[in-house]
Symmetry: C2
Subunit: 721 residues, 2 copies
Amino acid sequence: MRYYPTTTISSSLFSLFRRTRSLRSSAVVTPPMATTEDSLRQALAEKQSTIDARGTAIRQLKSSGASKSEIDEAVKALNDLKLEKTSIENQLKASISGEGSSCNKEAFRQAVVNTLERRLFYIPSFKIYRGVAGLYDYGPPGCAVKSNVLAFWRQHFVLEEDMLEVDCPCVTPEVVLKASGHVDKFTDLMVKDEKTGNCYRADHLLKDFCKDKLENDLAMSADKAAELKHVLAVLDDLSGEQLGAKIKEYGIVAPDTKNPLSDPYPFNLMFQTQIGPSGASTGYMRPETAQGIFVNFRDLYYYNGNKLPFAAAQIGQAFRNEISPRQGLLRVREFTLAEIEHFVDPDDKSHPKYSEVSSLKFLMFPRDEQMSGQSAKVLCLGDAVSKGIVNNQTLAYFIGRVYLFLTRLGIDEKRLRFRQHLPNEMAHYAADCWDAEIESSYGWIECVGIADRSAYDLRAHTDKSGVALVAQEKFAEPKEVEKLVITPVKKELGLAFKGSQKMVVEALEAMNEKEAMDMKAALETKGEVEFEVCTLGKTVTIKKNMLSISKEIKKEHQRVFTPSVIEPSFGIGRIIYCLYEHSFYMRPSKAGDEQLNVFRFPPLVAPIKCTVFPLVQNQQYEEVAKQISRSLTAAGVSNKKDITGTSIGKRYARTDELGVPFAVTVDSTSSVTIRERDSKDQIRVNVDEVAAVIKEVSEGRCQWTDILQKYPAHTSASADE
Amino acid sequence: MRYYPTTTISSSLFSLFRRTRSLRSSAVVTPPMATTEDSLRQALAEKQSTIDARGTAIRQLKSSGASKSEIDEAVKALNDLKLEKTSIENQLKASISGEGSSCNKEAFRQAVVNTLERRLFYIPSFKIYRGVAGLYDYGPPGCAVKSNVLAFWRQHFVLEEDMLEVDCPCVTPEVVLKASGHVDKFTDLMVKDEKTGNCYRADHLLKDFCKDKLENDLAMSADKAAELKHVLAVLDDLSGEQLGAKIKEYGIVAPDTKNPLSDPYPFNLMFQTQIGPSGASTGYMRPETAQGIFVNFRDLYYYNGNKLPFAAAQIGQAFRNEISPRQGLLRVREFTLAEIEHFVDPDDKSHPKYSEVSSLKFLMFPRDEQMSGQSAKVLCLGDAVSKGIVNNQTLAYFIGRVYLFLTRLGIDEKRLRFRQHLPNEMAHYAADCWDAEIESSYGWIECVGIADRSAYDLRAHTDKSGVALVAQEKFAEPKEVEKLVITPVKKELGLAFKGSQKMVVEALEAMNEKEAMDMKAALETKGEVEFEVCTLGKTVTIKKNMLSISKEIKKEHQRVFTPSVIEPSFGIGRIIYCLYEHSFYMRPSKAGDEQLNVFRFPPLVAPIKCTVFPLVQNQQYEEVAKQISRSLTAAGVSNKKDITGTSIGKRYARTDELGVPFAVTVDSTSSVTIRERDSKDQIRVNVDEVAAVIKEVSEGRCQWTDILQKYPAHTSASADE
């Protein structure tokens, strides 16, 4: 019998389902273990009680009129103890903040973000009106990076995998999101300042409280610290009541006003609106693009020649009305998703191109390693499948393809891991889920979710719309199948149940095989049986003459089934932000007097592939620069001229900061210098070859190292060396 | 003094401004002239009155007992008259419907739309839930066409013109759209069914009534017909009161129920929502992308090295909550816009690349031709500028670039015209506006608006935000400028006006040069003057001792000004729909027993560039087909294998219907046949050259005719000939 989420799913499970779907970052739940930190807290508490005891002793010495030398000696000993305590406190602070690295991380992030904002990679939206939290604009270089990432996504997934791309509206009528569960369950728990009405996310307040205590209350007992750590670990699983109880217990108040807070209550994260003028048709801005694909399953299946497997894909905006957005580009109210729904026969999840990825090796973090407190380790994808760690080939195929996608963009593979969902993180219907997590200064960030969601979504829309979203497998020859046949005798049932007859009949017909065969046996031995009819809310007595139950052999010509869906879902903004962090570095200027910023973007994603500089302001050189720029543009290579009179070193620094991989310096009218950003290698190339060389190397058809072999090096010292 | 739209703009002007901005189709207002139709109506009315008179005469003959032969003769004459009347009626019907062409248009449209829907170019959104009016999905081929159009747009405009592309959110806070005028004025007039509450667009009802009358009430007098035609011509200019009066006068009722209708009232077309959980922050889904660029002007100007001119561009979704969407893809509630805002010094609207477009010739429809009832004619763009028909070079440059963009996509240049806005269509601040209109089965459709909006938008946001959105021109040497100086004597003003002093001072300081110099003269002669202070709503007496007015010579080092903006705004969905109509044709099948559909998309926009067929189902051929498909994919050429056993002719027909320009038939393992869609020419190419040939011709680096010269023709009769 079909599963109905509204009645049987626990809200905590659903909130995890939502997180799974929602590309949120999630801390890995490591079971509390004895750590250096714990033993330091223990030592600190012991030292404090020794100090307290010595203090009392000194006061007694003084009041009992002990000698000055005796007292001085005791005070000196006490001061030594206090120094030891300070030393332990420092060790504890270092331990809490991860050997001081959180400080470095903040500084690093600040350097990246300052560069990004100054060079308009992104800008807080509507800045002249003081902005809106959680909304950002991509400025010119950010917009180019995004468009390159999306173009590569289309090439890598849609084109190479023959996917059916669709483009559906953001405005979505209520009925669709009612079916998907979003109207009822897509919520976060919120508390309100009881006086001002300001809103806060309940879990954020509790998290901030615990973190703050752990970092700053060094005198806290190891037991108390363990409790707070446990709260942090299970935070995502707490119900509204549990969150409310903890907030009360810890005396947490509104951070801005110190006013008391309301109990937590759910706030739906969808932006709501009205479709049409009547006010009678509620709509929402879609919280994900996937539903647009599911509702089109029937047409897409037909378009694919009624064959499975096939994948549909969609790139588009999604919207979440976050209660209090944080973490810059990582938690926003509007973002670009790229989603794939791969529909497959649930009985055959093999993948024809599996062998192309099965020997890949990369960091994986299976469930068991997480539960036993180990860390992620490099696994061979094929081994993970054969050992049953990854549920099936198709899921593994996408994990492999996502790995290739992210590393080709420039994500550092040492800071990329695939983390399997723990049982309590996964929706009950999901077969297996893995998140591609990328390490950034904010920690490990979920950037791609890859989930085997079984038949859940198609079934939900079949139920709500009454349109069967199913596939057929035609048998080469008809198959004989044993089928359960339940035949109610309506006359008898009518006499016995009158107005309730219909519900009793429906309940009888809905029995599964075991229930029916049990009933048959019971009726044969006892002649009657008690039967619970949920829709009536009571138990009725079924007699032998009211129905017949049998198994019959039937010929079937086809199998009709709901396909499983495997869903890789990409948070494009998150991937881009992590790529910025992974690509950023600083190096000293030629004079050594300042640090210069560089983004080491691969040419594939670089916002501009090439800059063109005349070495000096001179009409001949400027003409050559123009000509080169025109031929680059005609070849479809994005480029920028810089004809300001600034020093060539300054111009290189400007362009490095935008991550432009190649710079052409026009220093003669026949041949020019091409400089590569990271190595600062320089070669000489004839003016009429430049566009072709840059096009080849920036489209990845050859490497800079190949180019370096082919052309003479530029011998004079480069301007920024 | 600055212009404030809320107080001085007439609502009809603003509604036209909105239409200008909103890519709506607009019928050209041709002044009513004497037409064939009018004279036919006249003839019909005369014939009818003759018939009436003869009828009366016959009745008199009968009652006066005339002879049978006399009566028969009169009846025969009457019947002849009735035949003549029928003939006139038929002529009139033909004249009204444009010689029967509207019927053909409908049939043609139906053929296109059926093909588009059947092949999933587009689908009504949320179809399994019975859809939502005005929302459409792009299925796989439609999505590919759209993505090709946008990629070409980026190459043609952003890359070739060095534009700064940005990407801003759809969710927009109220303050931004308050400043732009959308919150107050972005409305359509609506009427409600007074019993059911159903909503209708007031102008649609009036338009439908007039059209229906004109088409079906043949007995209507020529005067009445002229009146209804006049109503249609001025429909867009009617105020709510005027619309309401006409609806009452004509007795128009709710079309579904025949219930009475309410008076017209404005309905705001923006989708409204709430940002954040508090309910205190109203937001809207943006009705256009342009505002995101305007609010970022300061940062973009800085990014461009504080230099003008420069252009910013944005591609993205826009939303309009239409009262009752019609016309399929042409009037929708969510659509993709591509907008350019080119910022330029208002004193210098020349364009450096103007000479590249000035010799282009195409259909233009200047204001004067429209007003005098002429039709569009082919003009040379350069002549149009030099004769002052097009306001300036930059506007003309974009008109030329839009012409090149549309025709390269495959829009038929004979069904493309650039229509200038009439004075009453243009916002008062606009310098000049031209729409690229494409003729479709729905008539001439506005697909691109190209407007010189002067400084309006930047000024509106400067006023509302308090942030100066201006540019500076630094002078090589300081310039001496004569400046008006108004110095209020606050002591005297304070004594005279007390609490109202501030408003009086502001009004005095806001005087323009002429007003100030007039006041100075009056004060010198009369000693005092009456002065109206709008903000006080009264006139006050200003005395000579209350202020000094003078002109002083000041040295200025720079000029600070608000740039003008020239805005080309592209309705991508409309362009694509018109492209579908212009690309569609039918041709007989080989057997001649059916008509086959073809889309003659140029390779640039074709959703798939190439299909690959093994001639027969055979493992060797299928292996070759796979290999060719893989090499095409690796080269970034979208392709599709069709390995069904269907006849090659059927497979060609399928792929023609998707507009695929090239088909590769694998009929040997060494060389294969390439067939071009429209000519059906076939050539033979070696297997390992295929991908390179297809890539070259589909990326437009060579033409099919060149390829045809280079490779041997396939000699055996092609399968579909």
